[in-house]
């Protein structure tokens, strides 16, 4: 309780401390990863292709076990996956045998609530992501964008403190992705949402600048956090804003620097 209070006062929800990770084949992916995710912030992790962005996200969610170091949620180590840290996948994941509402309800069922309550929470989550009235549709009757909204609603309905998003717009066409990007910030940080922090992995710098408050740059071999960039452009952000371009240049320069901690 005391630890939680200190962390709450400090405003840090998730912290990664001296994290190392190695694949089963012995390849060392990360060394000395350290990062702090602050409350109310949209965090992005960017890095070149193949650097291990998705792997890092899975370590944050405890889907993988680090070789060394730890992931702390409100100061307590995260040892196994928990609904408090919820994941939205790059490949849009829904269950084809369930309606939109049933898909969302999956994350509410574990709370052993009465059926009416489960339905109410699921409906509200769908409403939150702009899918009111689509409760009874099956995934195959929906567009990619709608399916991803269902996946986001399912994650939110679990009442997570942290939302991990693995390139959530990668499998959407540009128009749909832009539409969802414009909505997502308000969806995630609205008054009803219990979320404290969102951590998104992406290789799309434009969407990172459009959405994030803080960007961690992952680079090197083995990879480590080589820079942290705060983005203070007022929202809503436009790519036509000169500051936007400036930020793009900064991130690009970090990503193209070579020879960072070569193994």
């Amino acid at each position: 309780m005391r630890t939680y209070a200190i962390w709450w006062l400090l405003g840090t929800t998730l912290e990664v401390v001296d994290l190392d990770f190695r694949y089963e084949n012995g390849y060392k992916v990360f060394q000395d990863i350290n990062l702090k995710a602050e409350k109310g912030k949209f965090i992005a992790i960017v890095g070149p292709s193949g650097v291990g962005k998705s792997t890092l996200l899975r370590l944050l969610g405890a889907f993988l076990k680090p070789e060394k170091g730890s992931v702390l949620l409100h100061g307590k180590p995260v040892l196994r996956p928990t609904p408090l840290i919820s994941m939205v996948h790059q490949s849009i994941v829904t269950f084809p045998w369930m309606t939109a509402e049933e898909n969302v309800a999956l994350s509410v069922r574990m709370k052993n609530l009465p059926k009416d309550k489960v339905k109410e929470i699921s409906s509200r989550a769908l409403e939150m992501v702009g899918l009111q009235g689509f409760n009874d549709l099956y995934p195959k009757e929906m567009s990619g964008g709608m399916r991803q909204r269902v996946a986001v609603a399912r994650s939110l309905a679990a009442d997570p403190k942290i939302l991990l998003m693995d390139e959530p717009f990668a499998h959407l066409d540009e128009l749909t992705a832009e539409g969802l990007r414009q909505d997502i910030y308000n969806i995630l940080f609205n008054e009803e949402s219990p979320l404290e922090t969102v951590i998104m992995v992406s290789h799309n710098l434009t969407e990172v600048i459009e959405l994030s408050d803080t960007v961690f740059i992952l680079n090197g071999n083995p990879a480590t956090i080589v820079a942290k960039v705060d983005i203070d452009i007022p929202r809503p952000r436009s790519p036509r804003d000169p500051k936007f371009d400036q930020m793009l240049d900064i991130l690009y320069s970090y990503l193209t620097r070579k020879g960072v901690k070569k193994q």
Binding site: P83, M87, P96, L106, M110, H171
Partner: protein, 558 residues
């Protein structure tokens, strides 16, 4: 009168050690193994030609697929009347008996393999076909360079269940009695019967050991072949793959199922990436299609079909009116027996399903257990139950008797059926879990779902097509188990294993007492009812699986 058996027993003096005919046993195991493998090879080669015919001619494709759909849905023993009519009665002699055994095994292994090859030919990447068109490849070049290599992983995937099916049926079809005549052909099934008749139990034990060694060798070889085939011939690509016709859930299940061996992710991805597309050969073809091969194949098929019909009609006409009266009077009791057998099949299937859902899940989620356990189960499944069950019978009878009392024999028959069939649904479910998108696993872990929640909401729906495939195979093979177990004279010395009532028992008893008319009539009724039921039930379930429970559709990616 015993045909062929005399040859074996009389020639056994060479290579006999302490009264155990080592040489004969080894040769018999080899003969049986070669018979199974040769019939699988025959299925593969004939399947290539038929599959090529199917992708070239829509009419042929429709007939071919419809027939496979029917035949793969019905139990192998449905073909027993055909065996009696054509091979034993018409052809007769040693050749007739050999062909009868071969035919039963062929019907057990061929449908999966043919369907797998057809599926492979249908999903050859359109770009590959365009290359073949571009360079004007002829039939042999197309087959040798594109279609056959592309079908190899699917064939490899079907080898395990086919070998298991083949060994199961060959050991019981190598030797069978009709009335006072025992028909036998050289093989381990016949050899074990012969050793049992001589009360040479050490000989039987030796036969089991030698058979075990050969089966392990075959399984290891097949695993190695599968690994190499998947590594070499699986197309790892994002390019669209042509597909025409209906998706084959059962086949997909069997396919990814067994391609097994650490390559599943690749195969699942490969399956997921298939998208419907028009046949490029149709799109760009400027020359009229040649139909000569189709006509010849069609005529041959028609001739065989007409011969079977002719033989059947001839047989029906040869039965007297008095005989028909007798058969009709027996029909109600035969149908009652069929109902009892259905209850037995349902019991066996439910127990198998329960074991699959618990043990299969345990295996699929624990790497170390799986690494050791799956090869063991593969080997055990290929080890023919009819060969070792008499010893199990002797060993566990007192124990089973102490629990089940007057239902002991019923319990033992169900146990035999379970041993013969449990593997299919277990393996199907295990593979379904393995082929489940990894994202589903992450979501289940993320949401911290309990075992029953996982099963109900994710795992069972996700593995439904695999379960249906496994259950269908289990049901079909359970009939084979009942056919053997419901009436088994001299299972151990003078003891006879038999149930109180059942259609399979009636058929077995009628066959062994020479009442061929009753046996054939019972088989005919069985074939009609079970085939119609299987087709309707299986088709309905598979349609449901196709419509609603394809896990790959839950992953949306461009």
């Amino acid at each position: 009168m015993i045909q062929a058996v005399d040859f074996i027993t009389n020639s056994a003096s060479i290579g006999t050690v302490n009264g155990i005919p080592l040489m004969t046993i080894t040769l018999a195991v080899l003969a049986t193994s070669i018979r199974v493998l040769a019939l699988i090879l025959l299925s593969i080669i004939s399947g290539w030609l038929l599959a090529y015919g199917a992708i070239k001619s829509k009419i042929f494709e429709n007939i071919f697929i419809s027939l496979i759909e029917i035949f793969e849905s019905v139990p192998v023993i449905t073909f027993f009347p055909v065996v009696l009519i054509i091979f034993v009665d018409r052809i007769g002699g040693g050749l007739g008996v050999e062909l009868a055994a071969d035919f039963l095994v062929f019907t057990a292994v061929v449908w999966n393999i043919w369907m797998g090859e057809y599926q492979a030919f249908k999903t050859v990447p359109s770009e590959m076909v365009e290359v073949a068109n571009n360079y004007n490849y002829g039939f042999l070049d197309r087959m040798g360079m594109i279609y056959i290599p592309f079908s190899i992983p699917r064939i490899a995937a079907n080898l395990f269940p086919s070998v298991s099916d083949g060994f199961f049926y060959i050991t019981v079809s190598e030797v069978f009695s009709i009335g006072l005549t025992t028909y036998a052909t050289f093989g381990i099934g016949t050899e074990i019967s012969s050793l049992l008749a001589q009360s040479n139990y050490y000989g039987v034990l030796t036969a089991f050991i030698i058979m075990g060694i050969i089966i392990v060798i075959i399984i290891l070889a097949l695993r190695s072949i599968s690994e190499r085939a998947v590594a070499k011939y699986t197309v790892d690509t994002d390019m669209p793959i042509m597909r025409r016709g209906k998706p084959r859930i059962r086949q997909t299940a069997r396919f990814s199922a067994v391609a097994s061996l650490n390559t599943l992710g690749k195969l699942a991805k490969y399956n997921r990436e298939r998208r419907p597309q028009k046949d490029p050969e149709e799109l760009f073809s400027t020359t009229p299609k040649k139909g000569k091969g189709n006509i010849i194949a069609g005529l041959v098929a028609l001739a065989i079909f007409l011969y079977i019909i002719y033989s059947a009609i001839e047989l029906i006409l040869s039965v007297s009116a008095k005989e028909w009266d007798y058969l009709f009077s027996k029909t109600p009791s035969l149908l009652y027996g069929l109902m009892l057998d259905y209850l037995r099949v349902i019991t066996i299937t439910l127990i198998s399903l329960f074991m699959a859902l618990t043990l299969g899940y345990y295996f699929a989620t624990r790497k170390r257990v799986e690494k050791f356990g799956i090869p063991v189960i593969q080997t055990l499944s290929a080890y023919p139950v009819p060969a070792y069950f008499p010893f199990l019978f002797l060993g566990i009878y007192p124990f089973v008797d102490s629990i089940f009392g007057s239902y002991t024999e019923e319990a033992l028959v169900l146990f035999l059926g379970f041993l013969a069939t449990f593997y299919y649904v277990f393996y199907g479910f295990w593979m379904g879990v393995k082929a489940m998108p990894s994202e589903y696993n992450e979501i289940m872990r993320n949401l911290d779902l309990g075992f029953f929640q996982k099963m109900r909401y994710v795992i069972i729906p996700s593995t439904f097509p695999y379960l249906i495939s496994g259950i269908t195979s289990t049901v079909n093979s359970a009939w084979g188990g009942l056919e053997i177990g419901e009436y088994w004279p001299h299972i151990a010395g003078n003891r006879t294993l038999q149930v109180h009532d059942g259609l399979m028992k009636t058929i077995d008893v009628a066959t062994s007492t020479g009442n061929i008319a009753l046996a054939a009539w019972g088989s005919f009724l069985f074939a009609i009812i079970v085939a119609v039921y299987s087709i309707i039930f299986t088709k309905k379930m598979m349609d449901l699986a196709k419509k609603k429970y394809v896990a790959e559709e839950g992953i949306y990616s461009v």
